[in-house]
Amino acid sequence: MVNRLLLVTALLASGCALAEEVAPRASVVEADKTETLTVEADGFVDPLRELKFNPGLDQREFERSTLAALNIYDPLESLNRRIYHFNYRFDQWVFLPVVDGYRYVTPGFVRTGVSNFFNNLGDVPNLFNSVLQLKPKRSAEITARLMFNTIIGVGGLWDPATKMGLPRQSEDFGQTLGFYGVPDGPYLMLPILGPSNLRDTTGLVVDYVGEKEINYLNVPDTASDHPELTVLRAVDKRYTTNFRYGQTNSPFEYEKLRYVYTQARKLQIAE
């Protein structure tokens, strides 16, 4: 009896297996609305077949683009590279272990609260700079963010504004300068702070001084008596920055970072 049952189940199972293995290959083609791909006998759909190649296969566009992209004004390269290596080591031996410790001792909602709090402070220079760039819509949005987050979000610990459809938009004085056509200037690798250039470094200083002068929520004043607040801000900044030195895993990370930074800033200024 058991034997018989086994046989029946085996049969049933084989039926199922067969049903699973039905392969109507034609459906692949039907599903492809955009192009008619030819399916080869073994089921291979060659993606290269649909592409238009240059006939001689001798175009040097990759080389041309990349060599042009390397062309960034970097007169202090030697010093910058040393600072890059210093930052890399500092990150690995000091900064990231501290961030890991921070992650270990605090629960997630506390870290989010800390990030929100400092982001809310950061909305002050954001507002300031978006006014300077004569962007009325963005300025209004940031003002609304500041109000909601400071009042409803209890001093910025929560971020109800983002949930209301007012995402954080960052504007700094470097972007304002860029908006008015100030060129990048030489590329700079700042100790600990990372990639920058002369224009953005100037912007950084202006934003810092501005924040001190405005003294929003009394935080900058308090911070001068309590350096731990500044340390917390730095740790939070590192905690929220995804970049890791060495993440490109390339001997040419310095060049790649330089290019990406320069282009990312251009993008931020243009938008």
Binding site: R4, A10, V28, L48, T66, G108, Q169, P251, E271
Partner: protein, 432 residues
Amino acid sequence: MLRSLRLAALLGGLLLAAAASARDIDAASYGYPLTNPFEATIATTPPEQRPTLPSDDDIDQADYSLTLRPEREFTLPDNFWSVKKLRYRLAKQDHEAPLIFLIAGTGAPYSSSINEYLKKLFYQAGYHVVQLSSPTSWDFMSAASRFATPGVTSEDAKDLYRVMQAVRAQQAHLPVSEYYLTGYSLGALDAAFVSKLDETRKSFNFKRVLLLNPPVNLYTSITNLDKLVQTRVKGIDRSTTFYELMLEKLTRYFQDKGYIDLNEALLYDFQKSRQHLSNEQMAMLIGTSFRFSAADIAFTSDLINRRGLIIPPKFPITEGSSLEPFFKRALQCDFDCYLTEQVIPMWRARTDGNSLLQLVDQVSLYALEDYLRASPKIAVMHNADDVILGPGDIGFLRRVFGERLTLYPHGGHCGNLNYRVNSDAMLEFFRG
């Protein structure tokens, strides 16, 4: 009655045997949203169709480093300080569990995004997970590779095997029940060779080995990848380079949108916008990313072996030295150039090798045909529209793996690895 049933069973068995061919997943029931192979390769699965995975905070994990080539401490230049030891990542369960090794793809480090994804997937399913860099990655070449000329797969597998043994030695207190192995892209080819090596060295006795989107013929794969930067891209002219074109599109996209929001949905949204990329542009983008890997490999291999093709031997390099002139030279070398100028000469000198064809046979899956056919513990998952395959490659996989090949209709190159259907199939395979 009994006889007829037996007959039926026999017939059923025969039918089953006839159908013991590859598991072809049909497009309709598969339901993968991206039918364009290039889109799938670049964007991978839309976030809502990925499996739910634990966050990094919920995983007990750390990076460790191994000193495998102590002499490199002295022979490598100062600015290679970060890759004089080989790093790997281990996610530990708090009880005895099976351990799975993940091998990254071309040029990718242990922390590559696919490795991270696979780690989360397998960790959640109760495995200890060890993430390893690809033998073609900068750190592996510098810190673990004996010849630092990746491409001869059997040699790469030996290097990997030593790394795995060193990992086990370093983690001696980790309670491991059994060993599993997987890898994606080039890492899958490596995994096949490592598994073969394990049959004689017997250090791990891998219980199951899964190859995710492996190249079948390594030469076809690198030729295809080299070719991708030869597409005719609309919008490139004398004054606009390819990158400028891409950045213009991105800028316009963000300007239309009103703000910059970098999130996971960005790519899908971008492809739905007016600025979406054409197939040629996407192909160029994929090709570009591989060319950067090729440049890194060519430069590193040349430097470590002092071949003098890209950087003069004994050229003094400090942390402040500019590498730009060498980067420029390395950029002009694609995979084919690296193979011809560096791999083949070394392979010939070391092994009395002859023609390119012979090398291709030795380093591709062809070399393992008999082993793979006779090893029920090894399975392969591939996509019908994978850009690293050539005509006949899937036929080869069908012949060799039979029902152990699962062929998905879409996904491009590794684009569907994080699709829920695929992740379930992977876990199911290792569950046994």
